[in-house]
Every structure is written in structure tokens, then in C-alpha cells.
């Protein structure tokens, strides 16, 4: 067996192209399997089921709100991480990364410990206002935001680091205080980075299962998101599970496709 060297414009060395191709098959293969086994003819009937519509609506709404929450909290947090002279920066970054390495169910348990009925904050909250968070749509949003926030923060932090700080200096000399600089110069300049961070966070929120099911439980229309619905349907109604999976896949691809073009490739 001879090894081909790429002459003028070959695809590349085999040691790179073969694993790359295997990786591609590995990623795309299961999706193709899903599409091949989907009961396409039964899809309209399965989609008409109000439980499916409920789960889809809930998933989209909750993940959108969770992403908005991530943006609201994550962009300032990323800004904080890049401020010069910040004490304990490595510790702060490690803490922010924790939800990434934590198993999602553990994240759900942690949220219960904090915001559950007997939680550190949840108990006083319930005592003072009668509001409990678990088993509500709010809990779904919080669980999804919890697992998605690190993606956004790290993505935006990266964008801020590579941004040219001299524009901020120019803005300061023109009379902009730090908040104005952030609002009118920094954010517009790193908008592509924020957008791609938001897309990552949104995708993560949409697919979240372990933390949601632990912290928010599962009730159709209120807390049963698509991933949870798929899991439960898998046992009793595999065809419905396939249909749900395919819908989730198509919706994700659609939204990812829309977003990427407009915002990220500027």
C-alpha cells in the first residue's frame, strides 16, 4: 500500500482525511438513521396531538426566555471577566465553567437545594411570598439557563478579548463614560460573538433534559419539554417518540440556519 502525497490540490494527507470522514459519518449517521425510520406518513396525525404541540411550544418558549436570560446576565458577566485587575479571575472562570462539566441531573439537584421548597433561598421565599419555583415553567427556564449560561459567557468573553480596546479609548476621549462605551462601542463591535454565543446557549437550552426533569418535573403543557416528552414516549409510543425527535431536529436546524447567516457571518 502506498501513501498518496497530495500533489497539486489533493484533498489532503490520509491520516487527516480518513478520521475526518469517520467523524463526519459518526455525527451524521445517527441523524440519517432517525430520518430513515421516521414514520413520515403518520407525521400529520402525530403532530395533531395537542400534547405534541404543547411540548413543542413549551420547548421553544422556555428556551427562548432562557436564552434571553443568559444574554441579560451573561454579557455583563463576560465584561466583568475581561476587566483588567480583576481579583481571583481564574477562580471566577472556573466557577462559571462548573455547569459545563457537571452532569445535568446534578445541576437539577443543586437548583433544588437552592430554590426548592426547602431550599436555601426557596424556603424563605415561600415563607414570605408563598411562591414556590419547582414544577413551574419558571423552573424550566431557570434549569435551561443554568446549563446554557457558561456557553454564552465563555463565547462572549472570547470575543471581548480579541476586540480592539483602542476603540474604547477613542470613545472615552470623546466623552463616553464606561457604560456608554460598553453600550455604544464594545457591544456593537462584538455582536457576532454575542450572537454565536446566544445560538450555542439556545441550542443547549432546547436540548436540556436532566436538570429540567429533576428541578421542574414533567407535566404536559407546563414543564414537559420536547426532550422529556421524547423520553417518556419512547416506552409507550415509539413512533410518537420518533416523530417528536424529528420535529425537534427540523426546528433546530431551521433556527440555526436562519441565525447563522444573518448575524454570524458578517
Amino acid at each position: 500500500m502506498t501513501v498518496d502525497q497530495p500533489r497539486n490540490g489533493g484533498v489532503g494527507p490520509l491520516t487527516l482525511t480518513v478520521p475526518a470522514f469517520v467523524g463526519l459519518v459518526f455525527l451524521v449517521g445517527p441523524l440519517i438513521g432517525l430520518l430513515l425510520r421516521t414514520p413520515w406518513l403518520r407525521l400529520p396525525e402525530l403532530l395533531a396531538d395537542p400534547a405534541v404541540a404543547d411540548a413543542l411550544r413549551l420547548s421553544l418558549v422556555a428556551s427562548a426566555i432562557a436564552t434571553a436570560l443568559c444574554l441579560l446576565l451573561g454579557v455583563p458577566l463576560a465584561w466583568l471577566l475581561v476587566q483588567p485587575g480583576l481579583p481571583g479571575r481564574p477562580v471566577l472562570r472556573a466557577l462559571i465553567t462548573v455547569p459545563l462539566v457537571m452532569p445535568p441531573v446534578v445541576g437539577g439537584v443543586a437548583l433544588l437545594m437552592l430554590l426548592g421548597r426547602n431550599g436555601v433561598l426557596g424556603a424563605p421565599l415561600a415563607a414570605l411570598t408563598g411562591i414556590t419555583i419547582p414544577f413551574t415553567t419558571t423552573a424550566v427556564v431557570l434549569a435551561e439557563a443554568f446549563v446554557a449560561l457558561p456557553f454564552l459567557v465563555l463565547s462572549v468573553e472570547g470575543a471581548l478579548r480579541s476586540a480592539d480596546r483602542r476603540y474604547e479609548e477613542a470613545a472615552a476621549t470623546l466623552g463616553a463614560d464606561r457604560l456608554t462605551v460598553f453600550r455604544r462601542v464594545t457591544v456593537p463591535l462584538v455582536l457576532p460573538g454575542i450572537a454565536s454565543g446566544a445560538v450555542l446557549a439556545w441550542a443547549r437550552a432546547l436540548g436540556e433534559f436532566g436538570a429540567t426533569v429533576t428541578f421542574a418535573g414533567s407535566f404536559p403543557g407546563r414543564t414537559q419539554t420536547m426532550p422529556v416528552a421524547v423520553y417518556l414516549a419512547l416506552e409507550s409510543n415509539p413512533e410518537a417518540a420518533l416523530a417528536l425527535s424529528v420535529i425537534l431536529l427540523l426546528v433546530s436546524v431551521l433556527l440555526l440556519g436562519l441565525l447563522r447567516d444573518r448575524w454570524i457571518s458578517r
Binding site: M1, V3, Q5, L14, T15, L112, G116, R117, N118, T132, P134, F135, V213, T214, A216, G217, S218, F219, P220, T223, Q224, Y231, L232, A233, L234, E235, S236, P238
Partner: protein, 254 residues
């Protein structure tokens, strides 16, 4: 160039063999290993039974895998390598026998009854099944697709109650966990789960009309790698010693 390529190929080969070795039904050591898929409600009691069995058969190793019966049945249908399947109701074991993976009409080895479980402090002041219909209570039920959930639906129907829970949990242990944590005021779980949770919870009996029991069948799978050891495990379970352990955990033995 040639050496690098052959090294990469060699590495890939090693990875492949390791993976197939892991995935394989384990031709090696099959004499000494019994893989048991058991319903979540059997968690504590089967652990005890397995230890006792291993003491009596020192050359056999019992490997336990717990989950909702419905999940386990599905996994078996997709080719999971187990030797024994202990389900929490006939319906889920039928999913396996209907697929031809085990002989029909598997024997029953235990019975469990449904109970209301509340946290030890009973914050919801629950006294009986009708209390679960109170709107202000936080109630968890098992999802209807799992045995515990199907039983709960049956009990509620029998008592003519309409309960809107705050969550349908994916298996009985998840529902119990929520009660233990104090996050819900009441749930419907098995009597054995109430016992297993000790003094963290209180169990409340269902009214006579609504009493629901689940029959637990156990099946030795046709493709079991170690038929003899699997049958020995089932035999032990149904022996007086096994029955003693089961009833000690709160199961009824037929």
C-alpha cells in the same frame, strides 16, 4: 510515511477491538456472571438478595441494573444483554415476551401495593387519597407509561378522583426522591418504597376500594449467556429464604 500510516491503523484496530470487547455479550466469564434487569422499586431488596445469592454461590457474580420497567423492557427489545428481567407489572414484561425474548407466562415472585407517601413532617396535612385532589398541594405521580403510574391511574379511577399532579416522574424512585427532599407534599409510590425511605417519610394506606396491587413477574431471557445461573437466581428468589427477604422489605409473596 508508511510507518506513520501503519501506526495509525494499528491504533484504530486496538480501539475497535476494545470497543467490541466491551460491547460483546462477554463470552468470557459468562459462567460466573448473571445480569439482572430489575424495576426501580426492587432496588434495595434485590441488592440484599444478590448478596445472599452470591454467598451461597461464590463462583457467581450478580450484576444489577435498575430502572423503570418500561425503560428496561425497551432496552431489552433493542438488544441489551441481560439474563433476567424482573418487572413491576405484567404489561411491561409482556413487551418482552411478546417480542419472543422470553417464554410466555413468566412466574410471579412478588406483589406490591400502592401507597400514599408524604414527608415525615406531613406539611400538606394529608390524611387520605381524596386529599391529593386539593389544589394547593404539590403532588407527584409516576408517568402513566410506567407501572407505578398505571397503578396510580387505576387507583384514582377506582376512587373516582381527579388529581392534577404537579409532575409526572419518570420512575417511582424519582417520585420518592421528591418526597424525601420535601419538594412535594404527597406522591403515590409502592409500599416497599415507603419502607425503604425509613423515617424520612410516612406511608398512608389507600381506601379499600382503591387498593391497587402490582404483580411482579420474573423472566429468564432466551438468549441469556448463563441459563443455569440465571435459573438458579430465580429459584433462590422464590425459595423460602428469598421470600423472607422480600416480605421483610414489604413485598407480598404469592
Amino acid at each position: 510515511m508508511n510507518r506513520r500510516l501503519s501506526r495509525s491503523c494499528g491504533l484504530l484496530l486496538v480501539v475497535f477491538l476494545t470497543m467490541t470487547g466491551c460491547a460483546g455479550s462477554g463470552a468470557e466469564g459468562s459462567d460466573r456472571r448473571v445480569m439482572v434487569f430489575a424495576a426501580a422499586s426492587l432496588t434495595e431488596v434485590f441488592r440484599t438478595v444478590a448478596e445472599d445469592f452470591e454467598r451461597k454461590h461464590p463462583d457467581t457474580d450478580v450484576v444489577l441494573s435498575f430502572g423503570s420497567s418500561a425503560t428496561l423492557a425497551r432496552q431489552l427489545r433493542e438488544g441489551a444483554p441481560a439474563d433476567v428481567f424482573a418487572a413491576a407489572d405484567r404489561r411491561t414484561v409482556a413487551m418482552v415476551t411478546d417480542a419472543g425474548l422470553a417464554p410466555g407466562n413468566p412466574p410471579l415472585f412478588a406483589r406490591n401495593r400502592l401507597q400514599i407517601v408524604v414527608p415525615a413532617a406531613n406539611p400538606g396535612k394529608v390524611r387520605g387519597l381524596p386529599d391529593l385532589a386539593r389544589a394547593e398541594l404539590v403532588v407527584a405521580l409516576c408517568a402513566p407509561s410506567v407501572p407505578c403510574g398505571a397503578a396510580a391511574q387505576k387507583a384514582l379511577r377506582a376512587a373516582n378522583l381527579s388529581v392534577r399532579p404537579d409532575s409526572y416522574e419518570k420512575d417511582v424512585k424519582a417520585a420518592l426522591a421528591k418526597v424525601v427532599l420535601g419538594e412535594v407534599d404527597a406522591a403515590l409510590v409502592y409500599h416497599t418504597d415507603v419502607l425503604a425511605a425509613g423515617d424520612k417519610v410516612i406511608g398512608i394506606e389507600l381506601p379499600v376500594a382503591a387498593r391497587v396491587t402490582n404483580d411482579y413477574p420474573i423472566a429468564v431471557l432466551r438468549h441469556a449467556a448463563n441459563q443455569r445461573a440465571a435459573e438458579a437466581f430465580v429459584a433462590y428468589l422464590r425459595s423460602p429464604a428469598g421470600r423472607r427477604t422480600l416480605s421483610g422489605a414489604g413485598f407480598e409473596t404469592p
